[in-house]
Amino acid sequence: MSLIDFTPNGMHVAAAGVHIDPWRAVDRAIITHAHSDHARAGMGSYLCQTQSVPILKHRLGNDIVVEGIPYGEVREVNGVRFSFHPAGHVIGSAQVRVEHKGEVWVASGDYKTTDDGITPPFEPVRCNTFITECTFGLPVYTWESQNIIFKEINEWWRANAAVGITSIISAYSLGKAQRVIANVDPSIGPILTHGAVEACNVAIKAAGVPLPHTIQLTPNTEKQLIKGALVVAPGSAMGTPWANKLRPFSTASASGWMQIRGWRRRSGVDRGFALSDHADWPGLNAAVKATGAQRVIATHGYTHQFSRWLNEQGIEATTEETAFTGDEAVTATETEGSS
């Protein structure tokens, strides 16, 4: 038995009777972040990073039993020491450090290694075994800097606003949407939100993170306001009657998958911006190196390619199947929570 086992319920720390991001109902769950493939309903109790608490409640209901502890604070269960460390993925996202009898494992959850301006940046944690995601574990995924991407987004929005067209950007309602809202140039025009995005904004503000002014789009929103505005909506709202009422418009998607021309074209949006909340190839490699881990377990994404590469670099690496998304079956329009 290892310190963390991969079981049908999810990642299991048997010594403590605790699961990390379980995908089936268990008594005690430790949650890396509030995206739906990592934080599921039905657990007896939840432990997460402090800022995740209001977001988790928003997603899973106010009646869940949830406790938050700040980054770095140690919680001991049956002699196993747990602590959260910034993963830089979305607000409240954390890597889980697990220490028992001198052995240290870190489960990364989802993470990115660059600073997005609103999420506490990723901090590498030294460990013996590093369980890493690798959603974008191929060299073609090397992100442009956020500054360049937002310059492009602003240019697109500005050009649309100049001709009185609405700009609709599809971004996952938790995380990506707030990153977009916080980093675009608000002098171009008003920022309107889809209800699902606005609800996340409220939860994130409750977590103590300030966000720029946004207006929720309703049937009563004035036409004049919509013209030239930036509308931030989840991917599921694109192409629906809700979106079609905003005509004339230009559509865009903010997702790591937009890095590839074929995906961009297939997504059916006018513009694709490769803006990801996951680590890119250099990020994944830097993270693995910084942990000093002797062993790496790749969980979701291009696991086979990334582990083979690590083995060739002299780092022992294996793969494990999980229920986390972000694998090759995820398409550009279904990247909710994983891009």
């Binding site: 191929l138 060299p139 090397t142 021309r261 074929g262 074209r265 297939r266 291009y302 079956a329």
Partner: protein
């Protein structure tokens, strides 16, 4: 190069035709003459020949990216496009290059004169000097596969806006042989010298498929019908004692069909015919597969000449005694053509016979007999129509026979390329041969996006074996495969080859036991052979 790369990026960023035309027009306004010329050439499929081996490019890219070859291969497969994969993995992004497009193309052309080491150095140097989109475009130039989402028609529209020359006239100007290295932009869009004019074909008039009940086309007497021959569309030109044969793809194919050489002397100067290049014996066309054995060969063997002799089945006369007849009525053009074919009286030149009919029902019966005549259906053309440039709706219609169909079982799947990279979209289908499933057709089009996702998920969840990019799957899904023709083929495992196979629909209602058999395919061939006799 930057300006051109930006143009590609801008056209790529929109699905709107108008915006693409606008992007091109803006580009034409600003670009230097030589760049405009090359842009026109690239967008009309006149690209420099590939001067490098792709295996070399892959190796150089892997080396620059500091990754093993297998990992580059993975990247290539996920991206689905070699030029793009290289652009993404090779570091650079400094973008210090400010030279015009023509300079880069000159380098591409010059590459073949360099030795291996020099070529390597030049290409890598260029990669480092360009940003991602620039690298992508440069790679497209060196791999000779320049295809982006803009048709020649849109390019001509933008060029017309830029120059003020009418679209139809420009379309004609851009036809035929011209070399961006020796032509000037001015000469290209205005008038070219006699040497090139002599061989220049006219833009082909194209037809749309009939969308409505043919009965609604009105009075049958206003229409001319003929069979739609299953060959290669071609234009045959005799001017100044020279013969030129052009294919629909604007390829000069005179040497591929030596049978037509006799027409150089038989036809008077200033004659241009539009017709079908068809393998023909006695009074019947031969199966298209026979012609296929000749296509793609540089020199035609004696055997091919004997087994698949071609004739030109002419259906239009575009130029007569040096005069452009395209604005005359079809009836007048055909009358002249008929007279000409009769006078020449050579087996190599035949008239595409008019199908007489007095009612649309009568014509429908004739269409049902198309397969017996080895035609694909009928062409219906308005009697008083002029010969249009390109595809214009209303005067020319194609009325094809319904496709043949067979129910096949999905056996192998392969990931698509380009737009469909990462989805399993290229399939191999099989029919029963006793207890065994034998592959008989490959097809990749015909499913809706939603169906495609479902099949993709099935493939991923039901993979039996992997052979590189190909997966064999548990046989369970049945699809109706439509195709235009079928023939015996020793090169295929099943012994048959299909023409234009595609997925007609997903037969979710059928278990695999009810899929067709190889015998059913053989019966189709027999039935057609009998009908032809």
């Amino acid at each position: 190069m930057q300006r051109f790369a930006q143009l590609i990026e801008r056209m790529d960023a929109t699905t709107s035709t108008n915006e693409k035309v606008q992007a091109l027009t803006d580009y034409f306004e600003l670009a230097p003459e030589s760049d405009k010329l090359w842009t026109i050439a690239l967008l009309s499929h006149r690209r420099p020949k590939r001067s490098l081996r792709t295996t070399d490019l892959k190796a150089w890219a892997a080396e620059e990216a500091n990754i093993p070859f297998w990992l580059f291969d993975e990247c290539h497969h996920i991206v689905g496009d070699l030029s793009e994969a290289i652009a993404l993995v090779v570091p650079g992004d400094t973008n210090t290059d400010t030279g015009p497009l023509s300079e880069h193309i000159e380098l591409v052309i010059a590459l073949k004169q360099f030795d291996e080491a020099e070529r390597h150095a030049r290409v890598v140097d260029m990669w480092k000097r360009l940003d991602r989109i620039g690298r992508f475009v440069f790679n497209k130039l060196i791999t000779g596969g320049f295809r982006i989402g803009v048709s020649q028609k849109l390019m001509v529209r933008a060029l017309s806006k830029h120059t003020g020359v009418a679209e139809d006239e420009l379309a004609h100007q851009l036809m035929g042989n011209w070399d961006p290295q020796s032509t000037s932009f001015h000469d290209l869009v205005n008038d070219r010298d006699g040497g090139t004019v002599r061989s220049r074909p006219y833009p082909f008039c194209l037809a749309y498929a009939v969308e409505v009940e043919v009965g609604t086309l009105g009075d049958p007497s206003e229409w001319i019908a003929e069979h739609k021959w299953d060959g290669i569309r071609g234009q045959l030109i005799v001017r100044d004692g020279e013969l030129y044969v052009w294919s629909r793809g604007e390829e000069l194919v005179t040497d591929k069909y030596p049978e037509y050489a006799v027409l150089r002397d038989a036809l008077p100067n200033g004659t241009v015919l539009d017709g079908e290049i068809l393998p023909w014996r006695d009074d019947m066309p031969l199966p298209f597969q026979l012609l296929q054995t000749r296509i793609g060969r540089k020199t035609v063997s004696q055997r091919a000449l004997k087994e698949a002799p071609v004739a030109l089945v002419a259906y239009d006369l575009l130029e007569w005694e040096g005069n452009d007849l395209r604005s005359e009525s079809l009836a007048a053009r055909r009358a002249l053509l008929k007279e000409l074919v009769q006078k020449i009286d050579l087996p190599v030149l035949r008239l595409s016979e008019e199908v007489g009919f007095t009612s649309w029902n009568e014509l429908a019966d004739e269409r049902d007999r198309s397969r017996e005549k080895r035609s694909e259906g009928l062409m219906i053309k308005r009697r008083d129509s002029e010969y249009h440039v390109g595809r214009k709706k209303g005067d020319w219609w194609k009325w094809k026979v319904d496709a043949l169909t067979i129910d096949g079982v999905l056996l192998y799947a392969q990931r698509g390329h380009g737009r469909r990279a990462d989805l399993y979209t290229d399939f191999t289908f099989a029919v029963w041969k006793g207890e065994e499933l034998v592959p008989f057709a490959k097809a990749y089009s015909g499913l809706t996006d939603i169906e495609m996702k479902k099949v993709d998920a099935y493939v991923k969840a039901n993979t039996k074996e992997r052979f590189g990019p190909v997966r064999s799957v548990v046989p369970k899904l049945v699809f109706e495969i439509a195709f235009e023709g079928i023939g015996l083929s020793p090169r295929h495992k099943s012994g048959v080859a299909l023409r234009f196979p595609r997925i007609h629909r997903w037969r979710t209602d059928k278990p695999i036991e009810e899929a067709n058999s190889l015998q059913d395919l053989m019966d189709l061939i027999d039935a057609r052979a009998k009908a032809a006799k």
